[in-house]
Symmetry: C2
Subunit: 119 residues, 2 copies
């Protein structure tokens, strides 16, 4: 398995077990993450975002994962408290066993609807 | 390049050029697509969905693409008339050079916001 894919899957496995400390060992201090709501810069901002997500996470399964030496692409499904099926995809760049960049994609609409049932 | 990846990229290239007829040559008659709004079944339903998307498409670029003999995973960005940057990811199963299943992911929220500026 490629180094980037191994790192991406180890990171996924850690947050799948809601272990943020372990998850962050796979994240570079200067990570940049382009998420649906905008750019997150640096490990503290990234951890704060993940903490919010892990708090509502029930379970997750990997649907597919591919990678080469520097890049991995993974798609997974998640079950969360507000949204029963909330799949996500991450395209990550890995350097020295750490994720330095993540392009992160999921559908925010059902989460927005769960917060505001009238919209 | 793997057969599944070749098919997924040929399909992407066709709709990138807004050529729905060419795009549909890569789609199985009995395609099943799990999209954010729900399941699409069969080529006519899938084509109708794609026609709506291609009508608002300005451009698209592949961010990453991987695959093996039967499966491909691709992430791309798109620029559309209502939403300047609307990335998507597709996990496809390919049989006999045609996409038979697609798990399709994008963020619907900015499209909903573009339709209803007050929400």
């Amino acid at each position: 398995m490629s180094i980037a894919l191994k790192t991406a899957l180890a990171y996924h496995s850690a947050w799948a077990h809601q272990d943020l400390d372990e998850a962050m060992t796979h994240i570079a201090d200067d990570i940049i993450c382009d998420a649906p709501a905008g750019r997150l810069e640096g490990a503290p901002a990234y951890r704060a975002f993940m903490a919010g997500f892990v708090a509502i996470l029930k379970s997750t399964t990997v649907l597919a994962a591919f990678g080469n030496d520097t890049t991995a692409l993974i798609m997974y499904d998640t079950s969360t408290h507000p949204v029963p099926s909330a799949p996500g995809a991450e395209l990550v760049t890995v350097l020295h066993d750490r994720i330095t960049y993540s392009r992160f994609l999921f559908d925010r609409l059902p989460f927005a609807q769960a917060r505001q049932p009238t919209t």
